[in-house]
């Protein structure tokens, strides 16, 4: 990212966010970047919930909203191919923050539903599409695909074209 010409000024509010997070979690954060007005932190799995709670509860940060929680798959990253990305918004401070957590294959993440209940469906979708397990989630069942679906369709190794299940692609028995 150094090679790019950074033209966007870092807003004051985001500087505060950066300073507070660095101060609180110091050397434990795995990395940070500021690109096109967006601040991103990479958080270790152990500190994930602590960082979320800190972001929500610190008056200087006041991230009241969890905008989205989603997954990523990088097959090229051998040790940590999976990733969970969390977007936070502070309505009162008008700031946004992105947090990333890198996960090994099969590694699970504690659920964020205790911090923001709105993480519920996002985590269900992330689990369904990427196979990332969320420990302590109250209702980790399929959200968008049918119950008989197998595999994690948004992983890079999932076939783009599918012929599974004939033309209807699901078993309608008992559903109609």
């Amino acid at each position: 990212m150094e090679a790019r010409q950074e033209t966007v000024e870092i807003p004051e509010a985001l500087k505060v966010v950066f300073a507070r997070l660095e101060e609180e979690f110091g050397g434990r954060l795995l990395g940070s970047s500021f690109f096109r007005g967006e601040l991103t932190f990479t958080v270790p799995v152990e500190d994930y919930i602590a960082v979320l709670k800190y972001c929500r509860d610190t008056p200087d940060l006041a991230f009241e909203r969890l905008d989205s929680l989603l997954g990523n798959h990088y097959p090229g990253r051998k040790e940590a191919p999976m990733e969970v990305v969390v977007h936070l918004t502070s309505v009162s401070k008008n700031t946004r923050l992105r947090l990333k957590v890198m996960l090994a294959e099969g590694q699970s993440l504690p659920t964020a539903t205790g911090v923001w209940p709105s993480a519920d469906w996002d985590e269900r979708e992330t689990w369904e599409m990427y196979g990332i397990q969320f420990d302590g989630h109250p209702n980790l069942i399929r959200l968008l695909t049918t119950e008989d679906f197998e595999g994690f369709p948004l992983r890079k190794d999932f076939p783009l074209q599918g012929t599974v299940g004939g033309r209807i692609r699901t078993d309608l028995k008992g559903k109609i």
């Binding site: 369709p153 599918g162 033309r167 692609r169 699901t170 309608l172 559903k175 109609i176």
Partner: protein, 213 residues
């Protein structure tokens, strides 16, 4: 046309009123093997079936009436629905043909325009909505997705809704322009006028046939 068809009014209206059965001689039946639709109708016209003089005209009258107030189900699945809305809007104005009254309940609709791709999750609902529409009913598959799945040859999209329900008119395009849908609806109106249907006399629903029901 001197004869009514079982579709549209139910089996009782065509044939023997006492038994409710359609009476056709063996000779006629034999000659109808491999015959086209028009040939069948012609042959049935010639066959003397007692007691159907009135329903024949009634069917014609009903078809004529229905074709001017075919109410589709208010039902859009994906991007094609936007064009369907445009067709219903003031510029293309479906109300000229009495089709603007999109019913929000399948029980008040005369058929459905399946506008957009149908996901596997949506498939049971599409079948249910279709089954809730009272007879006679007609279905328009709007857009390449409803016809064949389009580019979404993926894990989650039904490859053409005619795998689920009988389709009367296919309107290709991605999305079809309102004029194209209009053309399709004109074709549908012809079918409505003639009380012709995609489903057979047994009302076979492909989705049910696929699971052996």
């Amino acid at each position: 046309m001197g004869m009514t068809k079982p579709v549209g009014l139910g089996a009782d209206t065509s044939g023997n009123a006492a038994t409710g059965k359609l009476e056709i001689s063996h000779a006629t039946l034999a000659s109808l093997k491999n015959a086209s639709d028009a040939q069948v109708r012609e042959a049935l016209d010639e066959e003397h079936i007692p007691g159907v003089a009135l329903p024949a005209n009634l069917e014609k009258l009903l078809g004529f009436g229905r074709s001017f107030s075919w109410w589709p189900l208010l039902f859009g699945l994906a991007c094609c629905a936007i064009e369907m809305m445009a067709t219903a809007g003031p510029r293309y104005d479906l109300s000229r043909f009495g089709m603007e009254a999109m019913r929000a309940s399948p029980r008040q609709a005369d058929g459905m325009i399946v506008a957009g791709w149908c996901t596997t999750k949506m498939a049971p609902r599409v079948v249910r909505l279709y089954e809730q529409i009272p007879d006679p009913k007609w279905v328009v598959a709007m857009g390449s997705c409803a016809i064949s799945g389009n580019i979404w040859n993926t894990y989650s999209v039904v490859q053409g809704i005619d795998a689920l329900i009988p389709v009367d008119v296919y309107v290709p395009g991605c999305p079809p322009r309102p004029e194209a849908l209009w053309e399709g609806l004109e074709m549908l109106r012809d079918k409505v006028k003639q009380s012709r249907h995609a489903y057979d006399g047994l009302r076979t629903i492909p989705a049910r046939a696929a699971i052996g029901e």
